[in-house]
Amino acid sequence: MREVTARDLDMLAVGAAILGTGGGGDPFIGKIMAQQAIEEEGPVELMDPEELEDAALVLPTAMMGAPTVMVEKVPEGMEAVRALRTEEARLGRKADATCPIECGGVNSQIPFVAAARTRLPVVDGDGMGRAFPELQMETFHVYGVAGTPAVVADERGAVVTIETRDNYQLEWIARGVTIRMGGHAMLVDYPMSGAEFKRTAVRGTVSMGIRIGEAVAGASKEGVHPIDAVCAATQATIYGRGIPLFEGKVVDVERRTREGFAVGHAVLQGLGTFQGSRLVVRFQNENLVAEKDGETIASVPDLISLLDSERATAVTTERLRYGQRVTAIGIPTPEIMRSEEALEVWGPPAFGYEDLAFVPLECRFADYYASHGVPSGKEQYLDPRTGT
């Protein structure tokens, strides 16, 4: 257990934006809400998953909907609490903790709003390990946890309980309800036991988000380049060290809306050691594929993030513009996100890249990972016999 302060949330906002891989929504409003809630109600505890009792009840809390609506119709503040209480009543028992469903972007902050108002701890872990656009894109779903009963709540006191046979239908119906609520709502889904959380969650992602933010903030004082600091910040986690993929200048951005998502690509012209090369980053809100001089060098589910080359702050898909100096970094996904069942949900084919097989960063950049090392559990990538 550790106490989370307002400054931790400032750091988390920076780190979560990087884990948002170009999407996830701007953490700013979520952060201010969480800070205001903590100021009014008291501090929030961040709990290590090992501290969870197997029989505990964990109720994840999140927001869903259009970012354009959230920045205008700012939340009322108790939506997630109402969703949580409605879920508790439906299940006939009280929650012991909450957690994020998505550690990238604004959803990193929402559980702290709910936690402050209900005096529950936040468990250090989530179900996406980054940002993804849809509700079934959760390790919870991949490893058999039911997404429902789920509750969607608006600012006026409406709460809608949803029960479905599968989690794809949960996404479909919840999204429809959200639109009727004005385009934005708070959500509780994937109610689970402590044992199920320990079995299925991507662990340590909240504290990792804070650590990444601290790396960006403290880099110049430490005499380290912020990009290197970000890459080092994930080294001692289940992810492993980040890798700078490309440094360049944005020379083209193509962006259009398709079924509510911002789809397109950005082209970077290489600078420094990458002079003479080109990088294409394809996205659908979040960055999906990076191609250097025509060859794929990174793909979903591995994290591809575009950072300001000087300050290492995240550049979201909406903010991409000609002339920006950005550095693309890759962060390898933890093993739990790379199983066959997981790749069926969020591998390249799930985003329309039918012919692209997922190749982990550790394999694509074998020399880099041989020299920096990999977390325990990933040794097979370094073995030339078994690495793909």
Binding site: I29, I32, M33, Q36, A37, G65, A66, P67, T68, V69, V71, E72, K73, V74, P75, E76, G77, V113, E155, R156, G157, I179, G182, G183, K249, V251, T257, G260, F261, A262, R319, R321, Y322, G323, Q324, R325
Partner: protein, 517 residues
């Protein structure tokens, strides 16, 4: 005859343009604390130099940083009563939540979050409650000197804001300034609310500036129509300026870009304004500065103003050249001797190697005494190369494509700019570059802007565009534009992601000549 005046950070400049846009006189004098004396002095200088009668001046335009400075320096601001409509929504973040404490404590009055506001398609969030609004206003009356009203999605429908403004006028009288958010900013409640509160807070500063302007010109016997420059490069009549003083923010850089356009005769270029300490790079497109795409911060507060997109670097005429390691490498700036240059620079007998000295040593400018610049040839060349690289990168950042673009150099330090730069088709250094700001003020048009979200459920895109265009024209006429000269100068259409029913955000700007010119 038009009189353009710019009250900047250091100097007050003025220019006189005649009816065929010929520059008849220009002047520059250091700023004065009371603002008025400086204006009076420089204007009387240009009247004398041009040999005209003050009565010949028909229009006078003032661009000033006074409002910006007041916010940054936390001076002269007033306490604001804040009303936000949209309850129960928005309660999770109080008004002024992320403001720096020192600014907030001087400005923040009582705040109420009350029912009202609309969803993205214009349906009410909750019913507007006149009794609650009236009660809140009565509470605030006497304790605040201005009001700021914001409501959710007011760029879509602002009825509730207007009703509230009406109630305030009834309760506290029409002399108390009321700012409503739909007239100040666009989508983004918190940024728009911040901008609206700032607008209300600077009312006394606006009154002082307008008063000084009127008095200075009155004392000189000038009976012209008076205007203030706003941040989009167009003009506002004084009564409009008293209601929307926040729109004068950043008019300096905007006027410099517009002045550069006029002096060079170009409508599309990158503008490089080199000062004593820093250089601002902006983009001129269709005769107007390109607007910033990201939220603009003023004095530590996030706003969503229409501000020029600028990239600034710490390089100017007074920038100090430092040896950097071995083999003749150098670092240029960001430290600068600023306006102490006539004391500190080598060419003026001082002891500091500045970029002005580098220019003098290379024969790029004739300033002071070249014989006094005894710096090593390698150092001078290295400094020039470094500064050229900094300029090139800054220009490159602001380009919108890889094609070559022209550059217009303005500002006193523009002597530093290379004659040729990669990615640049030509570097123009127009005559009168040192008073580009005042010129920009003098040549400004009058505009009207619309920035709203339209739902295309009940109407076609063409109908929405037509309504936007008509509203923009009406706004421009209201500000003083000649109806026959009106043109649409900018249209932007942004489909809103995630929302069904084809909600689209349309921004239209119309501009025209001043009426009676």
């Amino acid at each position: 005859m038009r009189l353009g005046i710019d009250v900047g950070g250091t100097n007050t400049d003025a220019v006189l343009l005649d009816e065929v846009d010929r520059l008849r006189a220009k002047g520059k004098t250091p700023d004065t604390d009371d603002v008025m004396s400086g204006i009076e002095r420089v204007v009387s200088d240009v009247i004398r130099d041009a040999g005209i009668d003050p009565g010949e001046i028909t229009h006078a335009m003032l661009g000033t940083t006074q409002v910006t400075n007041a916010i940054i320096e936390r001076r002269g601001l007033t306490r604001v009563g804040i009303i936000r409509l949209g309850a129960p929504a928005t309660r999770a973040i109080k008004p002024l939540a992320a403001w720096p404490e020192d600014l907030r404590s001087g400005v923040e009055g009582p705040a109420s979050i009350l029912p009202g506001g609309v969803e993205y398609d214009g349906r009410p969030i909750s019913e507007f409650d006149e009794a609650q609004v009236r009660a809140a206003v009565k509470e605030m009356d006497g304790g605040v000197e201005a009001f700021a009203v914001s409501s959710v999605f007011s760029p879509v429908r602002d009825d509730d804001e207007r009703r509230t403004a009406g109630i305030i006028a009834e309760e506290v009288g029409k002399d108390v300034p009321v700012s409503i958010s739909s007239e100040i900013g666009s989508i983004g409640l918190l940024e728009r609310e911040n901008a609206t509160v700032l607008n209300a807070a600077v009312t006394p500063v606006a009154r002082r500036v307008v008063g000084a302007f009127q008095e200075a010109l009155g004392r000189l016997g000038i009976e012209a129509q008076l205007f203030l420059s706003q941040n989009d490069g167009t003009l506002m009549a004084l009564d409009y300026a008293l209601r929307y003083p926040i729109l004068t923010i950043a008019c300096g850089p905007t006027n410099s870009i517009r002045g550069a356009a006029f002096l060079s005769g170009m409508d599309d270029a990158i503008v490089v304004d080199v000062g004593g300490t820093s250089t601002d790079v902006g983009v001129l497109g269709s005769g107007f500065p390109r607007e910033s795409a990201v939220a603009v911060e003023i004095g530590g507060v996030q706003t969503n103003f229409r501000m020029p997109d600028l990239f600034s670097i710490g390089l100017g005429g007074g920038s100090i050249v430092h040896p950097d390691g071995s083999e003749g490498a150098v670092r240029v700036g960001p430290d600068s001797v600023g306006y102490a240059i006539t004391r500190e620079a080598l060419c003026f007998g001082g002891a500091t190697l500045t970029m002005t000295d580098v220019a003098v040593a290379r024969g790029m400018a004739e300033i002071g005494d070249p014989g006094r610049v005894d710096a090593a040839r390698e150092t001078v060349e290295a400094a020039y190369e470094r500064s050229a690289a900094m300029f090139e990168e800054a220009v490159d950042r602001m380009k919108t494509s890889a094609e070559e673009v022209p550059v217009i150099a303005v500002g006193g330090g523009s002597i530093l700019l290379p004659e040729r730069m990669p990615g640049v088709s030509r570097v123009h250094k127009p005559e009168h570059f040192e008073v580009a700001n005042a010129v920009g003020a003098a040549i400004a048009q009058v505009s009207g802007t619309v920035d709203r979200v339209f739902s295309l459920q009940d109407r076609s895109r063409e109908e929405a565009m037509e309504e936007a265009r008509r509203t923009a024209f009406e706004e421009a006429i209201r500000a003083g534009a000649d109806e026959d000269s009106l043109e649409i100068v900018d249209i932007e259409e942004v489909p809103l992601a995630y929302l069904p029913g084809n909600a689209v955000r349309i921004k239209v700007k119309a501009a025209g000549r001043l009426e009676n010119y």
